[in-house]
Symmetry: C2
Subunit: 269 residues, 2 copies
DNA sequence: ACACACTGTATCGCTCAGCGATACAATCGT
DNA sequence: ACGATTGTATCGCTGAGCGATACAGTGTGT
């Protein structure tokens, strides 16, 4: 399901205005499309596969892959035939994470939060129709998903996503929902726009958003939005617990005050 | 100190053979150099700064920045003037992490390891003269450094780095040391090539490498190499503890058997 | 055994993408 | 008011790179 969401990103074809924009460098766009081709992969990709995914012909793919390989962003798979992303990619990750003021200030706060609550704590960043994990503090009892920075979940059905929406006005929320792919992540995901708007309104009044089993069955999550200098939401703190340990009320009573305080500590950067 | 190491990467100017290689696309290289310009930054960068760092003129920088912005890899800093990396970068991170077989298989093993040892456990990947963190499992007692995927430390003075070197032959080790920037990370970092070779030889015999206060004062670290299908080292497990809690011997006796077993479980992928 | 469909790689001439110069409005600090 | 920044926009010339084409190696199917 993660893949389905991400593959949509990839369909970002060159638009008309981009074609007529003298400042828009097509070869750069093509190169980034080659790197993005791997969003849909679950193994090494051949030149033809890359070409198809990136929407360019094999020749172009060849030259771009060659260049990216020379630069250390791609490598040939030793055993399998095909190509894979290479380590150098992570350099840019660090640039992003260490220059992002929210992430920068969030880490100690999140650790403190996890120490108090002893459940999984995530920091996610708002990216329109999706919400991207930037940091995860594991709880002792582990879910099988690990620290995968870059993972994303839909805004509309995640606790943090709806907490973020609750800081926008109804028009903006509707706009995002319109552009969202509303396929449910689990059978419990709320997909009806009207119902989502209700939940968002509820979050506005309470200051937090709850999502029960909307991302993972058996999991309850509480999200609180983080805002920037201009009071615009730019991310959220998620706390996730198991429904076998918590009633909804106990979870909310325990988590909300702490998470809310943590969010306030991170906000306005 | 992190920055000094990384800024070296950036000096990767276009080589002569690249210039004469018909398959090498210069515009793509320039674009990646623009993204890499942020390796040396600690805040938003202006066009002129980017141009200087990337070794191109302002016009080129302008057009590339414009394109990367259009594609969602850069954004303008709201308050400060200048540009910053944007979220989309993290998409590629996930591609790399989730397609890398070592990382893929390591996570459960590392969690198990941390559960047993209750100290910080890191997974790092070998990249020539440096070693890049791909995952970190925090211990309860926190060091101030947080989960920053992409961080790197020099191969020559880290426990994992030397564990990796111990799986190469002496010529290869010398070659890496020759190309390394041997500036010490802490006053305790061993920088004399002969002494490093001794330590590497010691690691060969013992199956693990120890580094005391070579990266962080007060910290002892034990590293065990991870190998690929061809028995070539491709990464390492690091376990780090505080010298106030452990004697060298106690640390080694407790950590080595478990870390070694974990490394074996991850190896050969 | 052959044929065929794949890999990845290499070459080359035509053409249009994009280089680099130049200009400009806006916002600094002095 | 000045010069030095910032980011943005335009434009003609030219060489970067597009896309066609070819080739060696490796399976896969018949």
């Amino acid at each position: 399901m993660q893949r389905t969401i991400r593959s949509l990103l990839n369909q970002r074809v060159m638009t008309e205005n981009q074609k007529n924009d003298p400042l828009f460098l097509q070869s750069v766009a093509r190169a980034m499309q080659v790197l993005s081709a791997f969003h849909t992969a679950d193994g090494a990709m051949s030149l033809s596969e890359i070409a198809k995914q990136a929407g360019i012909d094999r020749s172009a793919a060849q030259r771009i892959v060659h260049t990216l390989r020379e630069l250390g962003y791609l490598k040939r798979d030793n055993e399998d035939s095909g190509f894979l992303p290479e380590l150098r990619i992570l350099d840019h990750t660090l640039d992003y994470l260490s220059l992002n003021p929210v992430v920068r200030n969030a880490t100690p706060v999140l650790l403190e939060l996890r120490r108090n609550i002893r459940e999984r704590v995530d920091l996610s960043l708002f990216d329109d129709t999706r919400v991207v994990y930037a940091a995860r503090m594991q709880s002792k009892r582990e879910t099988f998903f690990a620290t995968l920075v870059g993972h994303s979940v839909p805004t509309f059905c995640s606790s943090g996503g709806r907490a973020i929406l609750s800081r926008l006005n109804d028009d903006e929320v509707r706009d995002i929902l319109d552009r969202s792919d509303l396929t449910p992540v689990t059978p419990r995901s709320i997909t009806d726009p009207a119902a989502i708007l209700d939940k968002v309104q509820e979050a506005r009044e309470q200051g937090y958003a709850l999502a029960k089993e909307e991302i993972l069955i058996g999991e309850i999550a509480l999200g609180v939005a983080i805002t920037d200098k201009h009071d615009r939401p730019c991310g959220a703190i998620h706390v996730a617990g198991s429904l076998s340990d918590w009633t909804t009320e106990a979870f909310r009573d325990r988590v909300f005050p702490l998470a809310s305080e943590a969010a306030r500590a991170i906000s306005r950067f």
